[in-house]
Symmetry: C2
Subunit: 344 residues, 2 copies
């Protein structure tokens, strides 16, 4: 399997995130992608290539122009206020507040365009995030050109980023942009399967009213787990998208017995829906030792995930998302890919 990778991910290297009352070192760190790449090489998964460059147009197919302009300029505007450390927002527009007017000040815009205090904007954020999009689009192009499967080793991750806001360590939604690129390249129906521990709220919201992109997600139940405010089973899509969204929320402590059944059901839903291409949001924070998550998957479970996905028989584009048990992230993520290859 081909891997697409760029060192540019290292430009996103935040110092700290807010975790319930403390600023702690960022869980989402460059070493994550470095160790996944090392494991790709160690197991001989296949060639590793640099991304092509696609510019901002494919990003604007999914994200709002104002949001993209904000991300491009945020660091310069932040440091223009004499602050040299990473930027975090500190307030948000909750229920009853207005979102029809965009504040002008940088702190107001950080608030407007985000949903958490865990996702620092740094000097290199835009370059890292847009390069991750290029990694995703390069993988997408190879799959569209006929590859059975490609692995886009994206970092920063993307699935929490919505059309108009960032959060959850995600700035641009790599998987959603890739799914849109499949559509724009001629695929009539695309499915996204999100196996990250966290609900892919960004991906869901981007395609929620669309009938051409199916979104299925297995994740920590919103009653328990971040991002808390999307991911329930009764979110099935709206308007033309009705029936094209499937959530499998699972309570804390879920192991592979239950998780695997939910995966099977998600795959059956995708089979019934009949996609032409599959984007897999590949997070491995489902792992039992993940420091911020509470499922109980074991190393040996990850190849089984790959085998089940392979059984869908679809052109498959793996896009890296979360996973914070850093020392095991390569084994687990690449375990999915080698499982896929065994069965494909």
């Amino acid at each position: 399997m081909l891997t697409v990778y760029s060192d540019d991910h290292r430009l996103q290297d935040g110092k700290a995130e807010l975790e319930g009352g403390k600023l702690v070192p960022c869980y989402e760190m460059p070493r994550r992608a470095d160790l996944v790449l090392a494991r790709v090489r160690e197991v001989g998964l296949g060639e590793v290539v640099e991304p092509e460059r696609f510019g901002v147009e494919p990003i604007l197919r999914v994200h709002e122009a104002g949001f993209v302009a904000f991300l491009q300029s945020a660091w310069d505007r932040w440091t223009a206020t004499k602050r040299t450390f990473d930027a975090l927002p500190f307030t948000w527009a909750v229920r009853g507040m207005r979102t029809d007017r965009v504040p002008e000040s940088i702190d107001g815009q950080l608030a407007y365009y985000s949903f958490d205090a865990g996702t620092p904007i740094t000097a290199g954020t835009w370059r890292a995030a847009s390069s991750a999009v290029d990694v995703a689009l390069t993988g997408q192009r190879r799959v569209a050109a006929g590859a059975r499967a490609v692995f886009s080793l994206c970092r920063p991750p993307g699935h929490h980023a919505a059309a108009g806001y960032y959060g959850g360590y995600c700035f641009l939604n790599n998987a959603a942009i890739a799914a849109q690129a499949f559509r724009d390249g001629g695929a009539a129906k695309v499915a996204i399967l999100d196996v990250d521990y966290h609900h892919g709220n960004g991906s869901q919201s981007i395609f929620y009213r669309r009938g051409d992109v199916f979104f299925a997600s297995l994740h920590g139940h919103p009653l328990d787990e971040y991002p808390f405010f999307l991911g329930y089973e009764d979110e099935t899509g709206e308007g033309p998208g009705e029936g094209a969204n499937a959530n499998f929320p699972l309570r804390w402590g879920t192991g592979f017995d239950l998780w695997g059944q939910a995966l099977d059901e998600a795959c059956r839903r995708i089979e019934r829906w009949g996609a032409d291409a599959l984007v897999v949001s590949l997070g491995v924070d489902t792992y039992k030792d993940d420091p911020i998550s509470r499922f109980r998957l074991e190393q040996g479970d990850y190849p089984a995930i790959g085998r089940r996905i392979a059984a869908l028989g679809l052109p498959t584009h793996f896009v890296m998302e979360g996973g914070y048990a850093v020392e095991e992230i390569g084994i687990n993520a690449v375990g999915v890919l080698t499982g896929f290859e065994e069965a494909a």
Copy 2:
């Protein structure tokens, strides 16, 4: 003028708040109320009395029961998760997210019931906040019984707290609870005049659809300033509340020339509306040296504020809100009160 005060405010003594990327010592600190009290005594403003106790019923006239139960139990539930430091939320339900389901986990509820990362919940938060309500209700009772004016030296402040969420150093909306108590005590029409630097988003939202409580606020423009997502001029109330809300947003750098004109206009609106009692949300973070604010009022301007308010000729209940130039907070806040007394 009588002052109502309780030492219980010291039970709210948070360690840190998030300010755009850093955890910094809380601007909202016990010394604030201590110095206001010292100034009250220094100028001989009048008697200082302890609050009576009113229990939770008057709080529930303004705040949602689920929110109040959350505030009462939050610290115990937080520490039950083995965290001994102050609790801050780290994510929020922004546009497009669901607010019809309340998460079950404590981190999810912190997210649901808040709107910023600057308002730590500590061991003493509930006792301090509910005691501040008692301070407000004791003052309200004295005014309702015939006093020309009373000063409720509330801390923590209240005007950012909405019916169902906290933030901006505020947990329970002292001024709104007092205004409701005037209504429940027989006043047909009550006005709230909010002169704090920040928009009183909580007070506005609580009474936005009601025609019996007029809310007027002078504040940093939401395009520039926290809380960013309410406080525009075109927010004039809804339904029965249409016409009973008046915002005077002012840009950074505003001095007393412009601010005083806006105060005059706000007072004329209250005169035209014809209130039976007036609650003043008295913040002095409009001061030129306030560390988190950007207006340019001078010490000599504060008595003029008091004089203009006195000219309304209404039974007047001053409720302490913000002000973070701590060493000058007593001079400025009590300056408003002595100015009022000179003119009343």
